[in-house]
């Protein structure tokens, strides 16, 4: 990847990181400080996720944290000086892992909300 592309990915990582501070803050406070005894039971999880704004926030959180995590993994592995074909294979693998992660999360949430 050229220098401009690397810079854009770095900027994307920064933007995702700042978003993550806000979204993770909401997630942590909601799950550990607002929940009785520090964690929600099943009925509370379902009721929490059935609120449209919360559902949108949690799915956005999942997308942002997955993208930030996998871009971070990519940056660490790219520092090892990978050859171009290996770098392309890594990028494709990370895309697949990311898509699988987000689909898994959405499917899980869908199941809880519709049970």
């Amino acid at each position: 990847m050229n220098k401009n592309g690397s810079r854009m990915l770095w900027l994307l990582q920064v933007v995702l990181g700042i978003l993550l501070i806000l979204l993770l803050g909401v997630h942590w406070i909601a799950q550990h400080y607002l929940a009785a005894e520090g964690l929600r039971n099943y009925a509370e999880v379902a009721a929490y996720l059935k609120q449209p704004i919360i559902l949108a926030l949690e799915i956005t959180f999942l997308v942002v944290i997955t993208a930030h995590a996998l871009l971070g993994v990519r940056a660490i592995l790219a520092d090892l000086g990978l050859q171009a074909p290996l770098q392309r294979a890594l990028d494709a693998t990370l895309w697949l892992i990311g898509l699988f992660t987000v689909l898994y999360g959405i499917q899980l949430v869908w199941q809880i909300v519709h049970q």
Binding site: I21, L24, Y33, L108
Partner: protein, 119 residues
């Protein structure tokens, strides 16, 4: 960009190098935790009885201890990430060591406060 050999140059006198290593180590730890967390959430598919029993297990002292390590990792990664962002934009370059140690101390204090507030 730091080459792979620099990963192993552990120098306590360099806040920059320590910050670089700690950022990556906490990042790797948090990625592992993210996927562990997602796998454990699969318990929700088993229904209320399985989830509520699982939640009881998660309230054990050992898990709470692990929670404090997790909270420190999150705070350190976030604060150090903000520091690295500032440095990446060419801001506060002369203060990078002070910023690193401030991030570290703030992460320790916020972890202690966070754990006390949680329980």
């Amino acid at each position: 960009m730091k080459g792979r050999s620099q990963w192993f140059e552990f120098r306590l006198d360099s806040g920059g190098m320590l910050g670089f290593m700690l950022h990556r180590l906490t990042g790797i730890g948090l990625v592992v935790y993210l996927y562990l967390h997602l796998a454990l959430l699969n318990q929700l598919r088993q229904g209320p009885a399985a989830w509520d029993a699982f939640v009881q297990t998660m309230r054990s002292p050992w898990v709470l201890l692990a929670d404090s390590v997790l909270l420190f990792g999150i705070l350190m990664h976030g604060l150090n990430g903000l520091r690295l962002t500032l440095l990446g934009f060419g801001k506060f370059l002369r203060w990078q060591q002070e910023l690193f140690w401030s991030s570290f101390i703030l992460a320790v204090v916020l972890t202690a406060w966070g754990m006390l507030a949680m329980h």
